[in-house]
Protein backbone atom coordinates (compact mmCIF):
# COMPACT_ATOMS: atom_id res chain seq x y z
CA UNK A 1 0.00 0.00 0.00
CA UNK A 2 2.84 2.35 0.92
CA UNK A 3 4.58 1.47 -2.34
CA UNK A 4 1.42 2.35 -4.26
CA UNK A 5 1.12 5.68 -2.46
CA UNK A 6 4.70 6.55 -3.27
CA UNK A 7 4.17 5.51 -6.87
CA UNK A 8 0.98 7.50 -7.27
CA UNK A 9 2.65 10.58 -5.83
CA UNK A 10 5.54 10.08 -8.20
CA UNK A 11 3.17 9.46 -11.06
CA UNK A 12 1.43 12.71 -10.29
CA UNK A 13 4.84 14.38 -10.29
CA UNK A 14 5.87 12.85 -13.60
CA UNK A 15 2.50 13.74 -15.04
CA UNK A 16 2.93 17.30 -13.82
CA UNK A 17 6.27 17.48 -15.58
CA UNK A 18 4.52 17.02 -18.88
CA UNK A 19 1.13 18.54 -18.33
CA UNK A 20 1.78 21.71 -16.36
CA UNK A 21 3.50 24.90 -17.41
CA UNK A 22 7.03 25.10 -16.09
CA UNK A 23 6.94 28.79 -15.18
CA UNK A 24 4.71 30.79 -12.87
CA UNK A 25 1.25 29.60 -13.78
CA UNK A 26 -0.39 32.79 -12.49
CA UNK A 27 1.79 35.29 -14.33
CA UNK A 28 -0.20 35.12 -17.55
CA UNK A 29 -3.98 35.19 -17.52
CA UNK A 30 -5.55 32.35 -19.45
CA UNK A 31 -7.17 33.46 -22.66
CA UNK A 32 -9.00 31.32 -25.16
CA UNK A 33 -5.81 30.88 -27.15
CA UNK A 34 -3.58 30.12 -24.14
CA UNK A 35 -6.11 27.60 -22.86
CA UNK A 36 -6.13 25.87 -26.20
CA UNK A 37 -2.35 25.73 -26.25
CA UNK A 38 -2.09 24.75 -22.59
CA UNK A 39 0.00 21.60 -22.31
CA UNK A 40 -2.65 20.08 -20.03
CA UNK A 41 -4.81 19.82 -23.12
CA UNK A 42 -2.13 17.84 -24.90
CA UNK A 43 -4.00 14.62 -25.52
CA UNK A 44 -0.78 12.69 -26.10
CA UNK A 45 0.51 13.46 -22.59
CA UNK A 46 -2.90 12.84 -21.04
CA UNK A 47 -3.20 9.58 -22.91
CA UNK A 48 0.21 8.48 -21.57
CA UNK A 49 -0.84 9.30 -18.01
CA UNK A 50 -4.05 7.30 -18.43
CA UNK A 51 -2.11 4.30 -19.72
CA UNK A 52 0.30 4.51 -16.75
CA UNK A 53 -2.52 4.74 -14.20
CA UNK A 54 -4.62 2.00 -15.80
CA UNK A 55 -1.66 -0.34 -15.98
CA UNK A 56 -0.49 0.43 -12.45
CA UNK A 57 -3.94 -0.01 -10.92
CA UNK A 58 -5.11 -2.78 -13.29
CA UNK A 59 -8.03 -0.71 -14.50
CA UNK A 60 -9.74 -1.82 -17.71
CA UNK A 61 -9.58 1.24 -19.96
CA UNK A 62 -13.10 1.96 -21.28
CA UNK A 63 -11.70 2.64 -24.75
CA UNK A 64 -10.88 -1.06 -25.05
CA UNK A 65 -14.31 -2.28 -23.93
CA UNK A 66 -16.99 -3.00 -26.49
CA UNK A 67 -20.62 -3.68 -25.72
CA UNK A 68 -22.77 -6.12 -27.71
CA UNK A 69 -26.41 -5.45 -28.47
CA UNK A 70 -27.41 -7.89 -25.71
CA UNK A 71 -25.53 -5.76 -23.18
CA UNK A 72 -22.55 -8.06 -22.66
CA UNK A 73 -19.26 -6.23 -22.63
CA UNK A 74 -15.90 -7.49 -23.84
CA UNK A 75 -12.51 -6.16 -22.77
CA UNK A 76 -9.91 -6.29 -25.54
CA UNK A 77 -6.80 -6.84 -23.49
CA UNK A 78 -4.52 -7.30 -26.51
CA UNK A 79 -5.38 -3.78 -27.70
CA UNK A 80 -4.75 -2.46 -24.18
CA UNK A 81 -1.44 -4.29 -24.13
CA UNK A 82 -0.47 -2.83 -27.49
CA UNK A 83 -1.17 0.69 -26.18
CA UNK A 84 1.18 -0.03 -23.25
CA UNK A 85 3.74 -1.50 -25.64
CA UNK A 86 3.51 1.61 -27.83
CA UNK A 87 4.26 3.72 -24.75
CA UNK A 88 7.36 1.63 -24.12
CA UNK A 89 8.47 2.01 -27.71
CA UNK A 90 7.99 5.78 -27.51
CA UNK A 91 10.19 6.10 -24.41
CA UNK A 92 12.91 3.80 -25.65
CA UNK A 93 12.84 5.83 -28.87
CA UNK A 94 12.41 2.80 -31.04
CA UNK A 95 10.79 3.48 -34.36
CA UNK A 96 8.25 1.06 -35.68
CA UNK A 97 7.82 1.41 -39.38
CA UNK A 98 4.83 -0.38 -40.77
CA UNK A 99 3.93 -0.72 -44.41
CA UNK A 100 7.15 0.84 -45.58
CA UNK A 101 7.37 1.54 -49.27
CA UNK A 102 10.27 -0.79 -50.00
CA UNK A 103 7.88 -3.70 -50.36
CA UNK A 104 8.48 -5.34 -47.00
CA UNK A 105 5.51 -5.62 -44.69
CA UNK A 106 7.21 -4.29 -41.62
CA UNK A 107 10.55 -3.41 -40.19
CA UNK A 108 11.86 -2.48 -36.81
CA UNK A 109 14.81 -0.26 -36.29
CA UNK A 110 16.49 1.40 -33.37
CA UNK A 111 16.62 5.14 -33.66
CA UNK A 112 20.10 6.54 -34.02
CA UNK A 113 21.85 7.55 -30.84
CA UNK A 114 21.62 11.23 -31.72
CA UNK A 115 18.05 11.06 -30.42
CA UNK A 116 18.86 11.69 -26.78
CA UNK A 117 16.39 10.72 -24.08
CA UNK A 118 15.34 13.65 -21.93
CA UNK A 119 15.28 13.33 -18.14
CA UNK A 120 11.48 13.27 -18.22
CA UNK A 121 11.55 10.46 -20.77
CA UNK A 122 13.97 8.53 -18.56
CA UNK A 123 11.63 9.02 -15.58
CA UNK A 124 8.75 7.61 -17.56
CA UNK A 125 10.83 4.75 -18.92
CA UNK A 126 11.94 3.78 -15.42
CA UNK A 127 8.34 4.05 -14.25
CA UNK A 128 7.42 1.58 -16.99
CA UNK A 129 10.09 -0.69 -15.52
CA UNK A 130 8.71 -0.24 -12.00
CA UNK A 131 5.20 -1.19 -13.14
CA UNK A 132 6.50 -4.09 -15.26
CA UNK A 133 8.34 -5.53 -12.27
CA UNK A 134 5.43 -4.88 -9.90
CA UNK A 135 2.98 -6.77 -12.10
CA UNK A 136 5.48 -9.34 -13.42
CA UNK A 137 4.88 -8.16 -16.98
CA UNK A 138 6.72 -10.72 -19.08
CA UNK A 139 7.17 -9.00 -22.44
CA UNK A 140 7.95 -5.56 -21.01
CA UNK A 141 10.46 -7.09 -18.60
CA UNK A 142 12.08 -8.91 -21.50
CA UNK A 143 12.27 -5.74 -23.58
CA UNK A 144 13.75 -3.78 -20.68
CA UNK A 145 16.27 -6.56 -20.03
CA UNK A 146 17.50 -6.08 -23.58
CA UNK A 147 17.20 -2.31 -23.90
CA UNK A 148 17.76 -0.62 -20.53
CA UNK A 149 21.47 -1.24 -20.00
CA UNK A 150 22.50 0.16 -23.42
CA UNK A 151 20.32 3.21 -22.70
CA UNK A 152 21.90 3.56 -19.25
CA UNK A 153 25.35 3.36 -20.81
CA UNK A 154 24.60 6.29 -23.10
CA UNK A 155 22.71 8.35 -20.49
CA UNK A 156 24.29 7.31 -17.18
CA UNK A 157 24.37 10.79 -15.63
CA UNK A 158 20.67 11.38 -16.26
CA UNK A 159 19.76 7.85 -15.13
CA UNK A 160 21.61 8.35 -11.84
CA UNK A 161 19.98 11.76 -11.32
CA UNK A 162 16.53 10.22 -11.81
CA UNK A 163 17.30 7.30 -9.50
CA UNK A 164 18.56 9.71 -6.83
CA UNK A 165 15.49 11.91 -7.17
CA UNK A 166 13.03 8.99 -7.25
CA UNK A 167 14.54 6.21 -5.11
CA UNK A 168 11.50 3.96 -5.46
CA UNK A 169 12.67 3.39 -9.04
CA UNK A 170 16.05 2.01 -7.93
CA UNK A 171 15.23 -1.69 -7.27
CA UNK A 172 13.43 -2.32 -10.56
CA UNK A 173 15.97 -0.32 -12.55
CA UNK A 174 18.87 -2.21 -11.03
CA UNK A 175 17.10 -5.51 -11.66
CA UNK A 176 16.81 -4.75 -15.37
CA UNK A 177 20.37 -3.39 -15.57
CA UNK A 178 21.63 -6.69 -14.15
CA UNK A 179 19.25 -8.93 -16.06
CA UNK A 180 20.72 -7.64 -19.31
CA UNK A 181 23.81 -9.79 -18.81
CA UNK A 182 22.96 -13.28 -19.99
CA UNK A 183 19.43 -12.46 -21.06
CA UNK A 184 18.63 -14.24 -24.33
CA UNK A 185 22.05 -15.86 -23.95
CA UNK A 186 23.80 -12.57 -24.79
CA UNK A 187 26.26 -10.17 -23.14
CA UNK A 188 27.13 -12.36 -20.14
CA UNK A 189 30.80 -11.43 -20.60
CA UNK A 190 30.02 -7.72 -20.32
CA UNK A 191 28.83 -7.85 -16.71
CA UNK A 192 32.28 -7.59 -15.13
CA UNK A 193 33.36 -4.58 -17.22
CA UNK A 194 29.99 -2.93 -16.51
CA UNK A 195 30.41 -3.39 -12.77
CA UNK A 196 33.97 -2.17 -12.93
CA UNK A 197 32.93 0.98 -14.74
CA UNK A 198 29.81 1.69 -12.69
CA UNK A 199 30.20 0.34 -9.13
CA UNK A 200 31.76 3.47 -7.69
CA UNK A 201 29.42 5.72 -9.68
CA UNK A 202 26.33 3.95 -8.37
CA UNK A 203 27.49 4.04 -4.74
CA UNK A 204 28.46 7.70 -4.99
CA UNK A 205 25.22 8.73 -6.66
CA UNK A 206 22.78 6.56 -4.69
CA UNK A 207 24.59 6.42 -1.35
CA UNK A 208 26.20 3.38 0.23
CA UNK A 209 23.02 1.52 1.21
CA UNK A 210 21.03 1.97 -2.01
CA UNK A 211 24.13 1.79 -4.20
CA UNK A 212 25.30 -1.49 -2.73
CA UNK A 213 21.77 -2.93 -2.88
CA UNK A 214 21.71 -1.98 -6.55
CA UNK A 215 25.07 -3.63 -7.15
CA UNK A 216 23.82 -6.82 -5.49
CA UNK A 217 20.92 -6.94 -7.94
CA UNK A 218 23.27 -6.45 -10.87
CA UNK A 219 25.68 -9.13 -9.64
Amino acid sequence: MFKYSITLLSLAFVSACTTQPTGNTHSTPYTHSTINSHPALNTHANSDSNIFINKLLKINDPQFITQASDGTSTYHSLNAYKAWEALYIRYTKRDLVDNVTDGSTDSLKQRSSDKELTKTEIKKLLLIGYIAKLHADGATSQSLSSDLTPLYNSHSTSFLQVMTELPFLIPSTCYFLGNHFGFEDKHADKKTPFLKANAALLVTALGAEQGNACLEKIR
Binding site: Y75, L78, S107, A132, G138, T140
Partner: protein, 122 residues
Amino acid sequence: MSYIIEVQRNLLKGTGTLTYTFGTVSVSTTCWFEQANPIPAKRYTGCYATHMNSKTNSKGKKREAIYLPDEQTGRGGIFIHMGNSAAWSEGCIVIKEAQVIKMWNSIHPKETNNVTVIVKNA
Protein backbone atom coordinates in the same frame (compact mmCIF):
# COMPACT_ATOMS: atom_id res chain seq x y z
CA MET B 1 -12.10 -21.73 -36.09
CA SER B 2 -10.43 -22.45 -32.76
CA TYR B 3 -6.82 -23.48 -32.29
CA ILE B 4 -5.53 -25.36 -29.27
CA ILE B 5 -2.00 -25.32 -27.87
CA GLU B 6 -1.10 -27.60 -24.97
CA VAL B 7 1.81 -27.05 -22.63
CA GLN B 8 2.85 -29.81 -20.25
CA ARG B 9 5.34 -28.39 -17.72
CA ASN B 10 7.80 -29.87 -15.31
CA LEU B 11 8.06 -27.18 -12.65
CA LEU B 12 11.11 -28.77 -11.07
CA LYS B 13 13.08 -28.67 -14.32
CA GLY B 14 11.78 -25.43 -15.85
CA THR B 15 11.09 -27.23 -19.10
CA GLY B 16 8.15 -28.96 -20.69
CA THR B 17 6.58 -30.00 -23.95
CA LEU B 18 4.39 -27.85 -26.17
CA THR B 19 2.09 -29.62 -28.59
CA TYR B 20 -0.09 -28.22 -31.33
CA THR B 21 -1.94 -29.84 -34.19
CA PHE B 22 -3.99 -28.21 -36.90
CA GLY B 23 -4.64 -29.90 -40.24
CA THR B 24 -1.31 -31.12 -41.54
CA VAL B 25 0.63 -28.88 -39.15
CA SER B 26 1.96 -30.68 -36.11
CA VAL B 27 4.30 -29.32 -33.45
CA SER B 28 5.67 -31.22 -30.47
CA THR B 29 8.65 -29.49 -28.99
CA THR B 30 10.56 -28.65 -25.83
CA CYS B 31 9.50 -25.44 -24.14
CA TRP B 32 11.10 -23.37 -21.39
CA PHE B 33 9.68 -20.95 -18.85
CA GLU B 34 10.79 -18.91 -15.87
CA GLN B 35 10.97 -21.52 -13.12
CA ALA B 36 10.78 -19.01 -10.27
CA ASN B 37 7.53 -17.42 -11.34
CA PRO B 38 5.48 -19.55 -13.74
CA ILE B 39 2.00 -18.57 -14.88
CA PRO B 40 -0.83 -20.60 -13.31
CA ALA B 41 -1.65 -24.01 -14.79
CA LYS B 42 -5.08 -23.54 -16.36
CA ARG B 43 -7.00 -23.18 -19.60
CA TYR B 44 -6.44 -19.78 -21.24
CA THR B 45 -9.18 -18.94 -23.72
CA GLY B 46 -9.34 -16.11 -26.22
CA CYS B 47 -5.61 -15.95 -26.89
CA TYR B 48 -4.24 -14.23 -30.00
CA ALA B 49 -1.65 -14.87 -32.70
CA THR B 50 0.08 -11.49 -32.93
CA HIS B 51 3.45 -9.74 -32.98
CA MET B 52 5.53 -8.45 -30.10
CA ASN B 53 6.23 -4.93 -31.26
CA SER B 54 9.22 -4.28 -29.03
CA LYS B 55 11.07 -7.54 -29.68
CA THR B 56 12.51 -8.84 -32.93
CA ASN B 57 12.85 -12.25 -34.53
CA SER B 58 16.04 -13.62 -36.09
CA LYS B 59 15.36 -11.59 -39.25
CA GLY B 60 15.12 -8.30 -37.33
CA LYS B 61 11.37 -8.08 -37.82
CA LYS B 62 8.68 -7.96 -35.17
CA ARG B 63 8.61 -11.19 -33.18
CA GLU B 64 5.76 -13.62 -33.87
CA ALA B 65 3.96 -14.70 -30.71
CA ILE B 66 0.78 -15.95 -29.06
CA TYR B 67 -0.64 -13.52 -26.48
CA LEU B 68 -2.34 -14.81 -23.33
CA PRO B 69 -4.80 -12.22 -21.97
CA ASP B 70 -3.59 -10.30 -18.91
CA GLU B 71 -6.88 -10.74 -17.08
CA GLN B 72 -6.44 -14.52 -17.22
CA THR B 73 -2.74 -14.73 -16.37
CA GLY B 74 -3.11 -12.17 -13.58
CA ARG B 75 0.07 -10.59 -14.93
CA GLY B 76 0.96 -8.61 -18.02
CA GLY B 77 2.46 -9.34 -21.41
CA ILE B 78 2.58 -13.12 -21.26
CA PHE B 79 3.30 -14.66 -24.66
CA ILE B 80 4.46 -17.89 -26.26
CA HIS B 81 7.41 -16.77 -28.36
CA MET B 82 10.82 -17.76 -29.70
CA GLY B 83 13.70 -18.66 -27.42
CA ASN B 84 16.43 -21.21 -26.87
CA SER B 85 16.36 -21.56 -23.10
CA ALA B 86 14.73 -20.21 -19.94
CA ALA B 87 17.15 -17.27 -20.26
CA TRP B 88 14.77 -15.90 -22.90
CA SER B 89 11.82 -15.75 -20.52
CA GLU B 90 10.58 -13.39 -17.83
CA GLY B 91 7.37 -15.33 -17.41
CA CYS B 92 6.62 -16.20 -21.02
CA ILE B 93 6.70 -19.70 -22.53
CA VAL B 94 9.45 -20.02 -25.11
CA ILE B 95 10.07 -22.55 -27.88
CA LYS B 96 12.47 -22.64 -30.82
CA GLU B 97 11.74 -20.00 -33.44
CA ALA B 98 11.04 -22.45 -36.28
CA GLN B 99 8.36 -24.13 -34.19
CA VAL B 100 6.71 -20.80 -33.31
CA ILE B 101 6.63 -19.81 -36.96
CA LYS B 102 5.17 -23.17 -38.01
CA MET B 103 2.37 -22.86 -35.47
CA TRP B 104 1.84 -19.11 -35.97
CA ASN B 105 1.58 -19.39 -39.77
CA SER B 106 -1.25 -21.90 -39.48
CA ILE B 107 -3.46 -19.63 -37.35
CA HIS B 108 -5.93 -17.44 -39.26
CA PRO B 109 -6.95 -14.76 -38.87
CA LYS B 110 -4.26 -13.09 -36.77
CA GLU B 111 -5.06 -10.56 -34.03
CA THR B 112 -8.18 -12.54 -33.23
CA ASN B 113 -9.04 -14.28 -29.96
CA ASN B 114 -9.22 -17.68 -31.64
CA VAL B 115 -6.55 -19.60 -29.71
CA THR B 116 -6.85 -21.64 -26.52
CA VAL B 117 -3.72 -22.41 -24.50
CA ILE B 118 -3.94 -25.24 -21.96
CA VAL B 119 -1.14 -25.23 -19.39
CA LYS B 120 -0.74 -28.34 -17.22
CA ASN B 121 1.85 -29.41 -14.70
CA ALA B 122 3.34 -32.90 -14.87
